[in-house]
């Protein structure tokens, strides 16, 4: 059987971003895959060395517009460690608030895109309709729909008053109802979704560990890993049970996201209820010195940020390891053996974020 090479991307209808996979096919079956990356590389790590450590917050949160708050959170936590500053308790809770909002909007987004990729148009629209509730909350509390821009070195820049909290709570209840009624049951029990995703793109537990998969990709294969359990920000005061599935296929990863989504919405409401009063921002008077590694759990998995300061206004090195970068080896393990028609769904099941990966 002669082999066919199919270029998948960089401009492809399924993906909002330029992903390029060189697929090698035998008949309809994928036998080899080579990723070609760099289409979105901007050089943010280098640019972060040219801006002051306070200006960097605005650059770092634009690594990716979907998990923008978590990027700035990882960065601010790192700089706080280097400058010996501790964010006040209320700021730590507010950070969890926006983190979990980002997680819920990211999961709704990717679930919608997955539904779109399999041609389930109405479910795509339902997911994105529910997502607008989260974006409205984000706009109300932070002033912007997607780039919250509220995290700052030493705390957060915006506070939530009690009226706002009440309104947020009411809207989240509406969202929860929508999820329970028209989104979660479809993803968990629908025949079409089951048939399109079950048994597709399997990564066994050992392989997921070996390839260093993170986030829902690892948890879908039965690896119990969730960086929120390390208790950064205010997660130490909240109960975090990693959502784990054992099948390791696209269906398991989807189920992990659906269940995490409900938990995220609950977490936001818990945070609102138990938020302590007090200040939200402390002054940072010294320059960052030394080196540190800051880790946060993004919607797609663990992000590692390495920062090195030299007692000046500029950082010497900013290195970002984003979750999709860690999940690409796992993706390359999933694709061989699948049908060409399943490639978009398997690729979307790791929730690729190329903007993050290539920075």
């Amino acid at each position: 059987m002669a082999r066919t090479a199919i270029p998948f991307g960089p401009q492809h209808p399924v993906f909002p971003e330029p992903v390029h996979l060189k697929l090698e096919l035998e008949d309809e079956t994928v036998v080899g895959v080579t990723p070609v990356i760099g289409y979105m590389h901007r050089g943010i790590e280098k640019a972060a060395e040219l801006k002051t450590f306070r200006q960097n917050v605005f650059l770092i949160e634009r690594i990716c517009g979907i998990c923008s708050f978590m990027h700035s959170l990882a960065y601010c936590q790192g700089v706080e460690a280097l400058t010996d500053v501790e964010a006040p308790p209320r700021a730590r809770f507010l950070r969890v608030f926006w983190s979990e909002l980002s997680r819920s909007h990211s999961h709704l987004l990717t679930l919608g895109l997955l539904a779109d990729a399999m041609g389930f148009e109405s479910l795509f629209m339902q997911c994105w309709r529910a997502r607008e509730i989260v974006l409205d909350i984000s706009e109300m509390t932070a002033g912007h729909r997607i780039i919250q821009s509220t995290c700052s070195v030493g705390g957060v820049r915006r506070d939530i008053n009690s009226e706002m909290a009440k309104e947020v709570d009411a809207r989240l209840r509406a969202l929860q109802e929508m999820l329970d009624r028209s989104i979660s049951p479809v993803f968990l029990h629908d025949y079409t979704i089951n048939r399109r995703t079950e048994g597709k793109g399997i990564v066994p537990k050992e392989q997921a560990e070996l390839l260093g998969a993170v986030g829902p990709t690892a948890r879908g294969s039965g690896v119990t890993v969730d960086i929120r359990q390390t208790g950064y920000a205010a997660y130490s005061d909240l109960s975090i049970d990693p959502v784990v599935e054992t099948a390791g296929d696209s269906y398991a990863r989807t189920k992990v996201r659906v269940r995490e989504l409900s938990r995220s919405v609950e977490l936001v409401r818990e945070v609102l209820a138990m938020m302590p009063a007090g200040e939200i921002l402390v002054a940072v008077s010294n320059y960052p010195e030394g080196e540190t590694v800051s880790r946060v759990e993004q919607p797609r998995g663990e992000e590692i940020m390495y920062l090195k300061g030299n007692s000046t206004n500029y950082l010497e090195r900013v290195r970002v390891r984003t979750p999709t970068f860690a999940n690409i080896p796992a993706l390359l393990g999933m694709l061989p053996g699948c049908e060409l028609a399943d490639v978009p769904i398997i690729t979307l099941s790791i929730d690729p974020c190329i903007g993050c990966t290539e920075r």
Partner: protein, 142 residues
Amino acid sequence: MDILTRSRTKSPWLLHYSCGSCNGCDIEILAALTPLYDVERFGIVNMGNPKHADVLLVTGPANWRNYRVLRNIYDQMPEPKLVVVVGVCGSTGGVFDKCPNTLGGIDTVIPVDVYIPGCAARPEAIIDGVVLALGKLEAYGT
């Protein structure tokens, strides 16, 4: 208005390409297509194929790797065609101005008709920009 111009402006088909953006504008373009904003009621459809598209929506700054892809897509689109840049970084380089791998705005690579400001641009602004572009498409036909 002749029938060709009328049908073009009645139902423009979009092609979306993300150059080096942060995804913020890309997801706002998608949000404009979904129930709350729903541009499909104006006949605007998101297309995957450059050969079917009338309007090219570009986000993010051009860089050394993707400018060939961008020009290739632009060349594949049939005339008359319009280019709408979404977001500040696609218009001028924006926050990625000093990044070593970027070339600056999209207009360094292909001609641009409409610039939509915002970081990220709001769906209302995107719809506004596309409607502005349609005016140009109409003028093109006459």
